[in-house]
Each structure stands twice: as structure tokens, then as C-alpha cells.
Symmetry: C2
Subunit: 290 residues, 2 copies
């Protein structure tokens, strides 16, 4: 016997006011809301977040918004890959009921001027390489949280610093939601899933494995007793620079989730990498309990 | 026949978690929440806000929190007048059901690091005289809004720039509430009510009338046809400096609510004053439709 199809199909909404009406109706029905904010061009990492949201909450909202505020000058805002039709089909298959796809003017109308900043955690790693990036993230996520009013919002561990920063923001500002961080989803050969992998030419795609392999090397060295962060960073760096297509942005080992520098690894640490493969900046990370 | 007394008396709560529980219960009962955030030492201006909240919403929450983040170095954070017992009695008489009185560590625990900034509107008037002041206000109010989840929050027109900035913040961040601004409440001789009036010695109390009288002068000049802002500012300035105890911080005439400079008054404008009387900085303002 086949199960009856009860889903009404995914709704796609562009306007904030309409989103608020639907959210308010869903809440009046006593349903919990799960939320997966994305920049689109969905991959298995995003879909894992959506399936997790569908498992944990009654009504799943996703958003696709390529947020200009979190891109720096010369970064890939204009070129960021977009495929809305495909994204909507994929999101629906992963259990999303409502997809929010606002335009830039809907999110930042003329005269827009408010920003949210999380101190301390944002001046290192990607925050140092991409000034203003996390201000853009925390600002847009605050707006999206107010529009969607989720009970639980889901983020990927691939953007580890983003997850730490957003948890801090939610706690500091007493927001009424939980943030759940979902493990990195990888290709079978180890490459962390990312919308930006699309930029990689075939030989770059192979070269991109230095990130996940560099992390595996680090895990093995720590397993064999390595504790000194400077030594370990040097080992990872030496491994990565043997790949001629790779240019290191950073190789960092910090306490987690505090993101403090540490001379010798002790307790929970994150090994975080940002590496350009050709023109494409990729990130990856691993959290270890030492 | 006397009405039966059904009120259970005001509740006073210091902890955020307990506030959130009560708010959540009140919301489940389908009641609307009105909110009046204050720094305490309540006067008739505050009580007017509370009565308005009681008139418009089902459940009135007020807060008393002298917010260190909105005071600058050398300002009166330590000396700001406090009288909690009296405030609670007054708030109860004005229809407040729940008074939130958190400590500084409850609002800003160790490692606190998140701030909210409203651009453009905050670099003039009190924002220029008190750098960081509005960042402190917008940050604490965002936190309080998340804790109290009001349907309507009430602010006084005395702090005109604060009201404009908070409305902009709520709109920019898509917050789920209305902000209602309530007219200035004045002493019978015209002095705008303020907790800081307590600082004034008797002869300073008399001198403080230059603010409201300066605004009245401006209203009369505009009534007689004055339109040039530079001329009008000079007239107000000349009037105020005849008072030896007065030292002008600013005399400004700006468009309202945009707070833009304007050569000739046209449409809605605000005439805003900040004047030190002795060591006490007082503000007052008047909005005119020209």
C-alpha cells in the first residue's frame, strides 16, 4: 500500500510581509518552526540541514538570499552561483514547506542602516580575511530570525566560525530560539561540500583535496601525540604548499568554541583552514577533543 | 457599589529566564503585551507611558535597568538616581503587572560581545555629544525586546532622537512589534520631566526653564513667518546664553523624522536642544509642521 501524498507542495514567497503572515498562522496552529537560511545553489550539505529540520520541527522554512552585506569588495557576490528552480525542487524533496527568496531591495530598502556586530570572535580566521563579512552575516540572520521566528535554526559545521558567532549573538541578544549545528557533509573523496566547488576546474577539483587531507594528516599527528600548535600548523602548511595550485589564506588551531590562541592543544580545539585553489577560496575544519 | 479588586499585585523579576517563562505563559493566554523600558526614578512622564500601555494592551511589563553601555566616560552612570521601592509602587499604580529589574551581570555576563548599531541617524544631536550612547540604547533595547516580546513598546518624545533611532532599528531588523511615541510631559512651568531634574539646585531649577522657553520663542518666531534655520538657531542661542547658568551643548533644527540638515524649514521639523545647567545636561525638543 502506498502512502497517501498529503503535502500541499512547497510555497515560494518573496515578500517579508507575506512571510510574517504565514509564520504567524503557523504559530497560531501550535506548530514548531525549523529554519535553514542559505545562499542557494543547494548541495547535500544544505539538504542534510533541511532533513534534520524536518525531523525536529513541524514546519520547515528555508531561505535563499545571496546577501551582499557579507561579501567584500572584489569577492564573488555577482558571480555566486544561482539556480532557483533546481533549489526549490531539492528543498521540497528535503521536507521544506516554505521557501523565502527575497530580493536585495526587500531586505535592504533605501536608507537601510542597522547592523549587528559580535565582538571578539569575529576578528580572526575568516573575519580577518574578510573584513565586515560576519557583520553582514549577523545582520542578515537577525533579520531572517525576526521574519521567520524559528524555534530551531540549523547551520552547518563547515562554516564553523559562523556557527560559533551566531550562537554567541543569539545568547548575547537573548533571542528566543535554539541554534543547531550539523556536521560537515563531504564528497566521497573527502572534499567538504560547498556551492563554491562549482568554480573548480577538473585539475583544481583534485588539488582541492589538500584541505581535507591536511586535516586528516593533523588528526593522525595528534593521534600520535602531537600537541604543539605551532609545530602542527607547520606540518599542515608544508603539506598544503606542496600542491602548486594551492595558496594558503590561513591555517589555524584555536580553542573551541572560544576561538582563543593556544600554544599547546588541550581540551577541545578546532583546526581551521582557508585555502585558495586557483581563484576559489575554500574552507574546511575539524574539531578534536585532545 | 465599589468595584471588586481583581489585580494580584505587581510581580518583580530579576532573572531573564524567569521573565521568558512568564512572557511565554502570558502569550499562550492570548494576551497582548505592552512594554515600557526605563532607567527608573520614575516621574509623571514614565507613568504616562505605563498608563498608555495599560490602555492599549492586556499585560503591561516595565523594566528598570540603568544601562552602563549607554553612558560615556565621565557621565553620570554611578550617580544616576535610584529608588526601586518607590518606583515599584508608582508603576503598580499606573497599571504595570510585571516589573523587570535585572542586574548588570544578568544583562551583560562575562564575555558579552554583541552590539546593535543604527547608522546615519546616530551621528548627530545627542549621538555626536555622547559617542556610543545610541549603540548602548539600541543594544539593550534589542535584548529587552527579545526578553519581553512586546506587541507595543512605549517611548517618550522627550528623547526624540532615541525614538526615531529605535523605530528605524525595529523596521530595519524586521522586529515584530510596534513602537508608540508618547508626547513630552512637562511640569506646570514648562520644564520637561526628567529623572535628571533631581540634580538641579533651586536656582538651577529656575534657570532650566531656558530650554522650554527657548522652544516657545522658536514656535512664536516660526508662527510669525521665520523659516531660515540658521537665523532661528541664532535667536534661540542668544536667548539661552543670557542665562548665566546655561551652557549650550547643541541647538539644532532638522527635518523630522529623517534628522537631515535643512537651510529653510519646510514640512515637519524638530527643534532640539541640549543644554547644561550647572553640571546637569538637559534635553528638550519640539516638532513643528511648517
Amino acid at each position: 500500500m502506498s502512502a497517501a501524498k498529503t503535502a500541499e507542495g512547497i510555497k515560494v514567497i518573496e515578500m517579508i510581509a507575506e512571510m510574517k503572515e504565514i509564520v504567524s498562522k503557523v504559530k497560531r496552529q501550535g506548530k514548531t518552526i525549523g529554519f535553514v537560511p542559505t545562499m542557494g545553489y543547494l548541495h547535500e550539505g544544505h539538504l542534510t540541514l533541511m532533513r534534520k529540520a524536518a525531523e525536529k520541527t513541524d514546519f520547515v522554512v528555508a531561505s535563499i538570499f545571496v546577501n551582499p552585506l557579507q561579501f567584500g569588495v572584489g569577492e564573488d557576490f555577482e558571480d555566486y552561483p544561482r539556480d532557483l528552480e533546481r533549489d526549490i525542487r531539492l528543498a521540497e524533496s528535503a521536507g521544506v514547506s516554505l521557501m523565502f527568496t527575497p530580493g536585495v531591495n526587500e531586505m535592504y530598502p533605501g536608507g537601510y542602516g542597522t547592523t549587528v556586530d559580535v565582538g571578539n570572535l569575529t576578528d580572526k580566521l575568516c573575519g580577518r580575511s574578510r573584513p565586515g563579512h560576519f557583520r553582514g552575516v549577523t545582520t542578515v540572520v537577525t533579520k531572517l530570525f525576526n521574519i521567520v521566528e524559528p524555534d530551531i535554526a540549523f547551520f552547518g559545521q563547515k562554516d564553523a566560525q559562523q556557527a560559533v558567532v551566531l550562537k554567541k549573538m543569539a545568547a548575547d541578544l537573548n533571542m528566543n530560539l535554539e541554534i543547531e549545528v550539523v556536521p560537515i557533509v563531504r564528497e566521497t573523496d573527502g572534499l567538504a561540500m560547498s556551492s563554491r566547488n562549482k568554480y573548480l576546474a577538473p585539475e583544481e577539483r583534485k588539488a582541492a583535496l589538500v584541505l581535507s587531507k591536511g586535516l586528516e594528516l593533523a588528526r593522525n599527528l595528534v593521534g600520535a601525540g602531537a600537541r604543539n600548535t605551532a609545530d602542527l600548523k607547520r606540518e599542515i602548511t608544508n603539506f598544503i604548499i606542496r600542491e602548486p595550485r594551492a595558496r594558503i589564506d590561513y591555517v589555524e588551531i584555536l580553542s573551541f568554541p572560544g576561538l582563543k590562541e593556544t600554544e599547546n592543544m588541550d581540551g577541545r580545539v578546532i583546526i581551521a583552514l582557508a585555502v585558495f585553489i586557483g581563484d576559489t577560496r575554500l574552507i574546511d575544519n575539524m574539531v578534536l577533543e585532545v
